[in-house]
Symmetry: C2
Amino acid sequence: MPELRADARRNRDELLDVARQVIREEGVDASLRDIARRAGVGIGTLYRHFPTREALLGAIIGDGVRRLSARAADLSATRAPGEALEEWLTDVARRIGTYRGLPGTMLELVWDLEAGDKDLRVTCGDMMDAGRRLLARAQADHAVRPDVTFDDVFIAVAAISGIAHKSGPDPAARVLAVYLDGLRSAGATRS
Amino acid sequence: MPELRADARRNRDELLDVARQVIREEGVDASLRDIARRAGVGIGTLYRHFPTREALLGAIIGDGVRRLSARAADLSATRAPGEALEEWLTDVARRIGTYRGLPGTMLELVWDLEAGDKDLRVTCGDMMDAGRRLLARAQADHAVRPDVTFDDVFIAVAAISGIAHKSGPDPAARVLAVYLDGLRSAGATRS
DNA sequence: AGAATATGCGGAGCGGTGCTCCGTATGCAT
DNA sequence: ATGCATACGGAGCACCGCTCCGCATATTCT
């Protein structure tokens, strides 16, 4: 990293600030031109700092994602396995649900391992590994049915968290609660 | 309905045919210009037949939605309450998941009762009423926890069905199965 | 201090989008 | 065959994502 010039640093920060707000309100498909405009910079400047939409998104959520990795370790050390997983998933849902449209992006990220931004995937990789350990621990403790994979669980939480911006946070929380109950159930008990 | 002119009728049908295919592949945000082009028709013609995107969407899925209403009545008459509901929800998920992006549209439809196309809402209204009855019956039979509303359940199924186009149909089905297990569980058993 | 250089900036420009509007063509009834 | 209602097509407007390059300015060197 060859040290940013002072004005560049300022612009980058302002851009990130504005983008966070705009994307929260308008969604991941928000107009980049508009973000640049509101930040008081040219469109070219935005694209130089963040060459792709995913790069911008990655810069925006990077912090939160890292926080989630840390949170997983913390919960793992201080809570019962099942409780730790549930608490963490609830956190994940809350964080992903913050930015409109982000759930869809996360869904694609999990499945289509080739597409999307490298950095974003690497950052998220750490978090997903942390979650994977949490699930394994919960399953070993028989707190969670054994017939689910972490990818499935993560996908589910991402999809459910998308409800928040379309139907409000309360419905999203209620749906997640039901899903978590399903996770706790024995599973494969279909007659 | 003042009887369409012959060419108008042809164009409408062709438009609907093409739109169905394109929207299945590209999603509800597909280019309308492109649809018109592929149907061999001017963009103006498309907009005259379907003044809004929702109008087109409504015309596309209207049939399937009505089929779901009928299916609900059928299941209610031939299956046990719990079974009927689950079968129906699975059907709903399969149908909604057919068109990429439709789950999101349905989510908005349920919550934001003011927005969206009138016709679409009316058509869906019948289907939702049918589903509501199915849920009530299942709850009366203690096959489904009493602390969920139909809106919550429908929202959940819509959100989960969105997984299909992002991560494949199998993950979507597995997630739905877990949610349905949660629906069957007693509920409100959180320590 | 001033000059030289490297770095970052802005926005014109391209091809696309949604959507409107209206002159023109055509099916249909007479 | 004529006349009219109906339907058609696409130009036009404002916006979008994204690229490219001449110009301004922060920084470094003398």
